[in-house]
């Protein structure tokens, strides 16, 4: 029972971080129709930027996070402005190839700059264990769950209540009609990429806080694909459910079956979902009225 609870907490923590990484992917896809394979690379950039700010500049971690957020916004909006906007009208495959290229470029640049050895940064989330119902649980995972939930809540509120969030959903529905409302589609695209990059950065930092800073952060980001395929490429709620399912699945597999099976299980799930429910659990179905 104790193992089960511990695995569940670890699974939820990984799941919450995955959801955070995947939500940006869903936002970009929903608003702009682009499948961004660089989401994992964005996570790694975030982790390394925070590392640099803390270890090299000696900044306090809130300042380090703000610095990384700024870099993330520049990176996200820059990608939209200088890489994707010129490609409007190109085939979906070319756009996908470009984001894959960007991912390799970013990851290679990080390796060039920081080397391939994992770096440890002083964790900014307090470590240690807390006893809940007599089960010792890692504090950093509990806090990671809380932080991810907080950010996801803010993103959800943004889409539901804010003028720009509603406008972003409007652009996703009907770009031409959104233009006639005076909504600048370019601004909305830039905003989508900015938000996606910042949420990815935060997810990267949370991963690094648990696993250390290395290329593995981007590898963790690969799990975004089973998450969004499961939840539905364009559904924000879906990424949360998808993230939690994948996170728990990995931990239970590792805990009860082991043998490295947890590495492949998410991708087996991915193929299975593609076969039975290609638009995911929560993907938006076009409304057909007659």
């Amino acid at each position: 029972m104790q193992t089960f609870i511990q695995l569940t907490v670890s699974g939820l923590a990984n799941g919450a971080i995955l959801a955070l990484a995947a939500v940006g992917f869903a936002i970009i896809f929903k608003a702009t129709g682009v499948i961004n394979f660089a989401q994992g690379a964005f996570m790694a950039v975030g982790a390394y930027m925070v590392y640099t700010a803390i270890a090299d500049f000696g900044w306090a971690w809130p300042l380090a996070i703000a610095f990384a957020a700024l870099i993330a916004i520049l990176l996200g909006m820059g990608t939209e402005r200088f890489i994707l906007r010129p490609m409007v009208g190109e085939s979906a495959i070319s756009v996908i190839m470009v984001t894959i290229g960007l991912a390799f470029f970013l990851e290679a640049s990080l390796q060039f700059q920081f080397g391939t050895r994992p770096l440890r940064m002083a964790p900014f989330i307090p470590e240690g264990t807390v006893l809940i119902l007599d089960v010792p649980l890692p504090l950093n995972r509990l806090i990671a769950i809380g932080l991810a939930a907080l950010v996801l809540g803010a993103v959800g509120a943004f889409f539901r209540y804010s003028r720009n969030g509603i406008a972003m959903r409007a652009v996703a529905d009907d770009q031409q009609a959104a233009l006639t409302m005076g909504i600048s589609v370019r601004r909305i695209f830039a905003m989508a990429w900015g938000i996606a990059a910042v949420t990815a950065m935060l997810a990267g930092v949370l991963v690094a806080n648990i696993q250390g800073v290395s290329g593995n952060v981007a590898l963790f980001g690969l799990l975004v694909f089973p998450v969004v395929i499961l939840g539905g490429l364009d559904s924000i709620g879906g990424t949360i459910v998808g993230g939690l399912i994948v996170g728990l699945l990995i931990q239970y597999t590792a805990g009860y079956l082991g043998g490295g099976l947890q590495q492949v299980v998410p991708y087996i799930l991915l193929v299975f979902i593609l076969m039975v429910r290609p638009y995911g659990l929560f993907g938006e179905v076009r409304i057909e009225r007659v």
């Binding site: 509603i166 959903r169 233009l179 006639t180 409302m181 005076g182 909504i183 076009r286």
Partner: protein, 281 residues
């Protein structure tokens, strides 16, 4: 929702062209995909406060005219290659759609184009995107004009009936507080009773709110009955214009647009060339 200050403030500025109408189009030529010539020297004027109808058969270029005014052509590989569009004396021929909306020009597109996955309320909020300060106040006005929308506030727009979607599309355009409202076939696909209701509302918007209206319609009879002035277009240019009441009595209009001639419904294209010349030029 008063059509007060704002966009009209610049009306009558020295730069205003001779006519001084709120909207003036001169010799407009529009080409799609670099080869398809659709508007061939179209000119028209919409004076402030008036309800102007733009009529014409399918494919005449009515929707294209509205897309040119609102800067939407570039989303469809279209381009203004000749001529000018002025609003309140300022040239807006190549302006961005968002600047045009901010000037007080709102378009209700053909086929409604509501945001299907957004609620009615969210659709309306999008309509007020350019003027966030007045959203609450305008929501009240719009819901007063369209009580059905207030009943269905929280419903997803994709599941509204066609008539309700049309009301939503008009209400959404009103949220920007337009001084010029452009409507592209608002009666398309609606039952006669609803058509009457929509036309009544358009008339009220013009009379009570003082909104200038440019109305495109297939339903020429109804459009002429509420319009002050009307233009008839064929093949990318205006072939006839006049007071709406006069046009409604014109024998050719009766024959070709109101379906009242002896020979029944035919296209205007079928009229002998000399006859067009004689009557309308």
């Amino acid at each position: 929702m008063s059509a007060g200050a704002g966009p009209q403030a610049s009306l009558g500025s020295p730069a205003a062209p001779a006519g001084g109408a709120l909207l003036e189009i001169n010799n407009l030529e529009v080409i799609y995909d670099e080869v398809i010539l659709v508007l061939r020297g179209l000119s028209l004027a919409v004076p402030e406060g008036q309800l102007v109808a733009l009529l014409g058969s399918n494919g005449a270029g009515k929707s294209t005219t509205l897309k040119a005014i609102t800067g939407l052509l570039r989303t469809e590989h279209g381009e203004v290659t000749e001529g000018t569009i002025h609003h309140a004396g300022d040239e807006i021929t190549q302006a961005d759609t968002s600047d045009i909306v901010r000037r007080g020009l709102s378009l209700v597109m053909e086929g409604r184009h509501v945001f299907e996955h957004l609620t009615v309320r969210e659709n309306l909020i999008c309509g007020g995107y350019t003027s966030p300060g007045t959203v609450e106040e305008r929501l009240a006005t719009v819901e007063e004009y369209f009580p059905r929308l207030s009943e269905r506030r929280a419903q997803q727009a994709g599941y509204l009936s066609g008539g309700e979607q049309q009301m939503l599309a008009i209400g959404r355009a009103l949220m920007a507080g337009p001084s010029l409202l452009m409507l592209d076939e608002p009666s398309l696909g609606l039952a006669p009773l609803l058509v009457a209701e929509i036309f009544q509302i358009i008339q009220r918007l013009n009379r009570d709110l003082g909104t200038t209206v440019l109305l495109i319609e297939q339903n020429a009879k109804r459009a002429l009955s509420i319009a002050d002035h009307a233009y008839i277009m064929e093949n990318g240019r205006i072939v006839l214009e006049g007071e709406a009441a006069e046009l409604a009595d014109n024998p050719d209009v009766k024959e070709f647009y109101l379906g009242m001639g002896e020979s029944g419904r035919r296209s205007y294209r079928d009229v002998k060339h000399y006859k067009r010349r004689k009557r309308w030029l």
